[in-house]
Structures are given as structure tokens and as C-alpha cells.
């Protein structure tokens, strides 16, 4: 199929998404498939790994090799896959609860480890699949959930600052309402050698209908990626959470364990001979 020009449709399966009409995640699916077509990647050479949540349903809607793993563990599954199969292009998708709450530890260490893969987090500041509870990125005063009727009372998690602190070498923010910019970011992230993090503002029209206003709040800010962490930190000090663009793209040496077969298996026993 190499000679044929690829179309986004080649990367979409026939399954009908479980998402609500108007969900931002449709746009992410479209941007992922469009990016893969632009990069001319054969679908069977790409793996898309996810955890649990609305956005984590993404793999089944693609024609890629997918793994819909358990809640919060998409990053380790993807890490193991990429380390064992460096020939594959590995994408990871999930939501704010999956990535920043139950999987928060893996997020920090994936940024540190810098394995060559692209992590797309669809952030809607709510647990949609369990019908509307506060997530780590929910505003402290949001009273829309019966679980936290007074509001969560916690300062929201700041994903870009966390990623930067933990050592990520590619950090970007996209908005579901701007799939062209998102596509540009995904292409750049896949091309980046190392761990790439894209924070996507992906509105939940069902449990957070007020997020429809995000369209008016986002602003293209990171127009030219920074290459060093200090400059990136300075820019984040002024971030209102709605700045979009590629914040950081710094020199990166992706993590690869050393493997160089040097001995027949039968020789391993020699060390025990007396």
C-alpha cells in the first residue's frame, strides 16, 4: 500500500464511538488520523495505547494496533511496547483523570524517562464516564458534582508545569476546536525523538456545558517553541490555561536500554560452574 496516497479514513475503524454528540474527542480522533496520513505511516506499524475513560476509547475507533488497558496504566503499557519494539510508532491517548490522577505517577516518570512516544491527554476537567465528578484539573470551586457538593477545594493540577518540571522534552497544548493546529502538533510530536506531551483542551458538552465557551478563551500563544526549560518556565508563569501552541521542543536523547546480543544462551551457565 506504499505507493498509494493515504487518507485519514484509512486509519478509522467502522466502530461507532460511544462519545456524546459535540464531544471534543471526535476532533482528536480526526486530528490523529489526519496526522498519520500526513506522515504516510502504514497503519499496522503504529500502536495506540490507552487506559480507561471516555477518551481512552480511542484505539478501537482506529485501524491501528491498539491496547485499551486498565485505568491509569496506558503509559507503562506503551513504554514496555516501545522498549521491546522500537520499530513501531507508539501513541498514547487518555483523559485528565486517567493521566493526572490514577496515572499521575506514571506521567511524571514517563516525562523523566523520555521514551520515544507521543502522549495525547484530552482534558475536560471532569470524569465523564462515571457521570461527572471533579478531576485533578477541575476548578476548586466547581460544585457540579454530588461527590464534591462544596467543590473539590483543591488547586487544579497544572499539566504543562508538571511535564516541564519532570523533564519532558516536547510540550504542547491544543484545542479540540482547532484540529488543524492539533494536527500540526501531533505531526511534530511524532517526529520528535523522545517523550512528547500534548495537552488537548477537549470540552465535555454533557457534564461541563460551560466549556463551550473555551472557544472564546483559547489564544495561540506558544507560536515559536522554546528550546530551553528556563524560557519555557517563564512563559508558563503567565499561562492562564488556555495558551495553545508548542511550548517546548528541546534537544532530546530518547531512553533506550542497551541490548547487544553477545553470547549464546548456553554460555550464561558458565558463571555458575565451580
Amino acid at each position: 500500500m506504499d505507493a498509494v496516497v493515504k487518507k485519514p479514513q484509512d486509519y478509522k475503524s467502522d466502530l461507532k464511538p460511544v462519545w456524546c454528540p459535540g464531544c471534543g474527542d471526535y476532533s482528536v480522533l480526526a486530528s490523529v488520523t489526519r496526522s498519520l496520513a500526513e506522515l504516510d505511516l502504514d497503519p499496522h506499524t503504529v500502536a495506540l495505547i490507552s487506559g480507561i475513560g471516555c477518551s481512552s476509547r480511542l484505539p478501537a475507533y482506529s485501524t491501528l494496533y491498539g491496547f485499551h488497558a486498565v485505568h491509569g496504566r496506558a503509559l507503562p503499557v506503551a513504554t514496555g511496547l516501545k522498549l521491546a519494539r522500537p520499530d513501531l510508532t507508539v501513541l498514547v491517548a487518555g483523559g485528565d483523570g486517567d493521566g493526572f490522577s490514577i496515572g499521575g505517577n506514571h506521567f511524571v516518570h514517563a516525562c523523566r524517562r523520555n521514551v520515544d512516544m507521543t502522549y495525547i491527554v484530552m482534558d475536560n476537567s471532569v470524569y465523564g464516564m462515571t457521570k461527572g465528578q471533579a478531576s485533578p484539573t477541575t476548578e476548586s470551586t466547581w460544585t457540579g458534582s454530588k461527590l464534591t457538593p462544596e467543590g473539590p477545594g483543591l488547586a487544579p493540577f497544572r499539566p504543562l508545569e508538571m511535564a516541564l518540571s519532570a523533564g519532558a522534552t516536547f510540550i504542547a497544548r491544543a484545542f479540540a476546536g482547532d484540529p488543524l493546529e492539533m494536527t500540526r502538533q501531533i505531526c511534530a510530536a511524532i517526529a520528535h525523538p523522545g517523550f512528547s506531551f500534548i495537552h488537548v483542551l477537549s470540552p465535555c458538552v454533557t457534564y461541563r456545558p460551560e466549556q463551550k465557551e473555551w472557544r472564546t478563551l483559547v489564544h495561540a500563544e506558544f507560536t515559536e517553541p522554546e528550546t530551553d526549560r528556563k524560557a519555557a518556565f517563564l512563559r508558563l508563569l503567565d499561562d492562564d490555561g488556555f495558551s495553545t501552541g508548542i511550548l517546548l521542543k528541546s534537544p532530546s536523547a530518547p531512553f533506550r536500554p542497551t541490548t547487544a546480543a553477545s553470547e549464546p544462551i548456553s554460555a550464561l551457565g558458565r558463571q555458575f560452574a565451580i
Partner: protein, 576 residues
């Protein structure tokens, strides 16, 4: 009187080097033709603290500790009350202690051993560069009648690159110990042995598990350190790359289990090692391995529990969680190595089972197996190499949709590895249909549950499910598993010497329990003794949940830290 088996405990604290001395003694004795094993008991301290090397040397192959120790060498008595229970001294045994450490505590004298005073530290000080453990090594070797040249040969390897002076200092210290041994009475001396003509190995259970993993085809390991399993991971770290594999250290056990699920999804046989607390953390993801049919192997080197428990001491306490810890109906495989050396076989076999059936296998080793060292003949090559049924590439134009979870007769369906054209699918922890598409339909759920059960029930495990030994016409059978198997075997041999025939069934395949084979192996017995090291009798409950045991059923189980002893089992056999 010369003996065919001598047990020796070397105890000391504060980095006295008892483990080093113990290993040199074991390996030197092996070179001289003896068999033996060495267990380790350690306190909770990070460095120093009480520790003991627990050796047994014999003229025949031994895989079980003896009831007690014939010689106990003590540099000091620090914290002895903490581990006195793990150091039973045989009646008529010999305690050799440094008099500067004070009198021998009364709690060590209950079996009325002989006592000798040897000033180990003073003797070591008189030798330039001399170390106290080398003095003790010289003394013990002289007592049991082991030629010092065998010690020197091992020391030359141990001290390689440290120069001639270091080796000479050790020789002088050995000589000082030998001189101190002169004139000691009540010495348990070993029968002479003949140096072996074939290759022998000195290996721990944890290292053996690592060898078994690689020989079985494992090429990726994700690791999180935990006592007493870390040795497996530390052995694999430098050795996996030699065969083209790799190991990565993770942030936690949730990461390690999920990383090996990811690598195995990619087609690379994968394994991790942990202990009880880590296994507990992995449970949800082991269910994912079952549901998504991704082969993985987890070696659980059990330690005292629950919770943090007794991290450095052995117990057989994770059978319950290994068999029953997964939520949902989640058939999978649980195995247990039956000796230190069998850690190699059982781990390699477990990789084979995981790959052949595309499921998860939990291997229940324990601290006693994992951290003990044994002398064995070089193991024969095993035929078990993990071979997965893999889907071939298909031309997309053929447009035959790939069914990852096809309902096959044996329950195993060919797995497409990423990169295979025409094989793309989404592996899922959600219930799914044959294509892998999420489904809540009754038929899909039932079909997939039955498929996953069918593959492990219909598999041919051959004779490897257990070691069945002893007398066919025996009236009494011992059923045991894991590290108590060799202890029970020694008890059986002793019973036979007293004219009592016993049958031994040491179960390697814990789940699915081969009920038919087990019933057949028990045919004709009127008494069944179920032996294991835990407080609750986990294996007995497991057996009873799955089958009716014949005749009178008795339980022999107690917690650690002292491992079960042959004498305890023998007493139960003889108590009619």
C-alpha cells in the same frame, strides 16, 4: 566418627563476612566432591545487624536443611534472641564462640551442646590483613576435614585482582583458624568425598529463576526492587542484554506489570519478579493479561506476611492471592518450584505455559528457595522455549477481518503482533467479541469466558504437574508444594529407614489443580498429610475446594521464620 552430613551455622553481625565465608566453604566443599546448600537469615538492618549463613554439607545430594546444626560458629551474640529460633542446635552439637563476646547465652544451651572458646578477633588481628571470617573458615574446614587447598582455589577467584598479598593474608588467617581447631573435641567430621568428574554449579534459586527465564525465551523484564526478589532482577539486568534482551527499572509495581504486558503485546516474551506486596499491587493488571490474553510471567518470591510482614524471612503465604486474587472469573496458571534448583525448571516451564496459552503465570517461589544456594550437576537442556501461536500477515485486499479472539477448539487463537499487515486489532480489558470489539452481549461474554477456561483446562501439562515419589503400596501420602517439597522428601527417606513406607506428591502446578492425576496418585492411601509453611493451611483449603481427599486428612502447617524441618514431618508420619 565421620558423618555423611554436617550442618554448620556461621553467625555474626556488623559485616563480619559470614555470607562470604559461607559461600567459599560451600563452593570449596563442592570442588572437593561434596553436595550441599546454604541458606541465609538476615535481620532488618540495611548494613550489619545479625545474620547467619546456614550450611549443610553432605556426601550425597541434599536439597533440604537438616533439623538442626552440628556446628555453630559465633563471632558475637548481638541480637541472638531475635533469631535463636532459626538456629536449633543438634544435641551433642558444638558451639565455637569468641570468649570476648561474653558467655554463651543460656538460650543457646538448651540442647546441651559442647562449647569451645576461640578468640576469632584476636587471632585475626595477629595476621596482617587478616579477617575474622577467614579465621572461622579455616577452623570449620579443619574441623570437618576439608583440605584448605580447595578454599584457596575459591579465594583466588574471589580475590582476583587484589594481589598476592591479599591471598597470602587469607591463607595465614585460614592457618590461624586451623591451628585453633587443633585439640577441639566432639568434632563432627565429614566422610571423605571424591572430586566430581562432571561440571557442577553453585547457584541460588533466584539466579536459577533468571536462567530459566532467559532459556524459556524471556527477552524483556520490567523491574521494581523488593526483598527477597531483587536478586532475580539484578541477575537479569546484566544478563538479558547479552542475549539481545533488556531490563528497565520502573517507578512502581503497577508500572512493572503493565510494561511487561506492553512488551509482550509487542511479541517479546516478558517477565517480572516481585514479592507479596508487589504481587498485591499487580492484581488488577494480571486480570488485564487474562482478559486481553497477553502472556506474562510473574515470579513471586514469597516472604512473611501480611502487609510488610517479615521481608527477609520465608513463608508460603501467597497461594491464596495467587490463585484467588483476581477479580472476575479469571482463569490463569499458578506454579511453584519444588527445590532451589527447580527454580530454573519451573520458571522456564512457566514461560512456556504463558506463551503457549497466552495467559499469565504466577510462579510461587519463596525466600528459602530464592536466597539459598545449592550445589547441583549442570542442568540438562530443557525443551521448553516459549512459542506463541502467531497470526500470519494477510493482504489487506483479501479483506478477511482478523479475529484476534477466535473461538478455537483448544481456546488458543493466533495472536497478530504489531507490524503484521492485516492483523491490527485492539487488545482490551473490556469484554469483547471474537474481533476484540467491546461487547456486553451474553453470548460474547460466555463464549470468551469458556474460551479462556478451555485453554488452560485442555492443555497437556504432561508429567510436570508434580513430583511423585516414594512407595506405591504406602498407606500414607504427603501432599506438599514449593519449598517444603525437599524437606518432606527427606522425611520420607527417614521414614523408610524406619520401615514405614510413604508416598510423596509435591505439586508444581498449583492451579489449575490436576485433580484427576492427583486422585490417581493418591489411590490406595488411607491417610493424607498436607504439609506447608503458613499459619492458615492455604494449600489444604485449596485442595479441599477442588477435590475430595481420600482417607484421614491431616494438616501440618506452621508459619516461619524457621523453615519446616524433616524431623517435624517425620514425627507426624510416625504419630499414628
Amino acid at each position: 566418627m565421620a558423618l555423611t552430613s554436617v550442618s554448620i551455622a556461621l553467625t555474626g553481625s556488623g559485616g563480619a563476612g559470614v555470607m562470604t565465608a559461607g559461600q567459599i566453604l560451600l563452593d570449596a566443599a563442592a570442588k572437593a566432591g561434596y553436595h550441599g546448600l546454604m541458606g541465609r537469615t538476615l535481620g532488618p538492618q540495611i548494613r550489619g545487624g545479625e545474620s547467619a549463613a546456614l550450611l549443610r554439607l553432605a556426601t550425597r545430594s541434599v536439597q533440604s536443611p537438616d533439623d538442626g546444626y552440628d556446628i555453630l560458629v559465633a563471632f558475637d551474640w548481638g541480637n541472638i534472641e531475635r533469631f535463636r529460633d532459626e538456629l536449633p542446635i543438634n544435641p551433642g552439637g558444638l558451639i565455637v564462640a569468641d570468649p570476648h563476646a561474653g558467655p554463651v547465652p543460656d538460650i543457646m544451651l538448651t540442647s546441651q551442646p559442647h562449647v569451645a572458646a576461640v578468640p576469632f578477633f584476636d587471632l585475626a588481628k595477629k595476621v596482617p590483613g587478616g579477617r575474622v571470617n577467614m579465621v572461622a573458615l579455616g577452623l570449620v574446614a579443619t574441623l570437618i576435614g576439608l583440605d584448605h587447598e580447595y578454599l584457596m582455589e575459591r579465594l583466588a577467584i574471589q580475590l582476583h585482582g587484589k594481589g598476592e598479598a591479599a591471598l597470602e593474608a587469607s591463607r595465614a588467617a585460614l592457618d590461624a583458624g586451623a591451628a585453633a581447631a587443633e585439640g577441639l573435641e566432639h568434632v563432627p567430621r565429614l566422610h571423605a568425598a571424591t572430586p566430581p568428574t562432571t561440571e557442577r554449579w553453585s547457584i541460588t534459586g533466584n539466579d536459577a529463576a533468571g536462567v530459566g527465564a532467559i532459556q524459556g525465551g524471556v527477552r524483556f523484564c520490567a523491574a521494581y526492587p523488593i526483598t527477597p526478589a531483587t536478586d532475580i532482577l539484578e541477575w537479569l539486568a546484566p544478563n538479558l542484554p547479552k542475549v539481545g534482551g533488556s531490563l528497565v527499572q520502573c517507578e512502581d509495581e503497577l508500572a512493572s506489570i503493565n510494561m511487561i504486558i506492553g512488551s509482550s503485546f509487542g511479541g517479546v516474551p516478558s517477565l517480572t519478579a516481585t514479592s507479596g506486596p508487589g504481587l498485591a499491587l499487580m492484581m488488577e493488571s494480571l486480570g488485564l493479561a487474562v482478559a486481553s490474553e497477553t502472556p506474562v510471567v510473574v515470579v513471586d518470591v514469597q516472604r512473611g506476611g501480611p502487609s510488610t510482614g517479615i521481608p527477609t524471612k520465608s513463608e508460603q503465604v501467597d497461594l491464596n492471592i495467587a490463585v484467588n486474587g483476581l477479580h472476575g472469573d479469571a482463569p490463569h496458571i499458578v506454579t511453584a518450584p519444588l527445590s532451589i534448583a527447580d527454580c530454573l525448571f519451573t520458571t522456564q516451564w512457566s514461560v512456556h505455559l504463558a506463551e503457549a496459552m497466552q495467559t499469565c503465570v504466577i510462579v510461587l517461589s519463596d525466600q528459602m528457595l530464592g536466597q539459598s544456594r545449592t550445589i547441583i550437576d549442570k542442568p540438562a537442556e530443557l525443551a521448553f522455549v516459549g512459542r506463541r501461536k502467531v497470526a500470519e500477515a494477510t493482504n489487506a485486499a483479501e479483506a478477511v477481518p482478523y479475529r484476534r479472539y477466535a473461538l478455537t477448539a483448544d481456546g488458543v487463537s493466533p495472536m497478530a503482533l504489531p507490524g503484521t499487515e492485516g492483523g491490527a486489532y485492539t487488545a482490551d480489558g473490556l469484554e469483547h467479541d471474537e474481533f476484540g470489539h467491546p461487547s456486553t452481549q451474553t453470548t460474547h461474554h460466555t463464549d470468551q469466558l469458556e474460551k479462556r477456561r478451555r485453554k488452560i483446562e485442555s492443555f497437556d501439562y504432561g508429567d510436570h504437574w508434580a513430583l511423585v515419589d516414594g512407595d506405591g503400596d504406602a498407606d500414607v501420602a504427603i501432599i506438599t508444594w514449593g519449598s517444603t517439597a525437599e524437606v518432606a522428601r527427606e522425611a520420607m527417606a527417614r521414614a523408610r529407614e524406619q520401615g514405614v513406607s510413604v508416598r510423596l506428591i509435591a505439586v508444581r502446578l498449583i492451579d489449575p489443580l490436576p485433580v484427576d492425576q492427583l486422585s490417581y496418585a493418591l489411590a490406595g492411601v488411607s491417610r493424607v498429610l498436607v504439609v506447608e509453611q503458613n499459619h492458615e493451611g492455604q494449600f489444604l483449603r485449596h485442595l479441599r475446594a477442588r477435590m475430595d481427599l481420600p482417607g484421614r486428612v491431616e494438616a501440618l502447617h506452621r508459619p516461619g521464620p524457621l523453615g519446616l524441618r524433616p524431623g517435624e514431618i517425620l514425627n507426624r508420619i510416625l504419630a499414628r
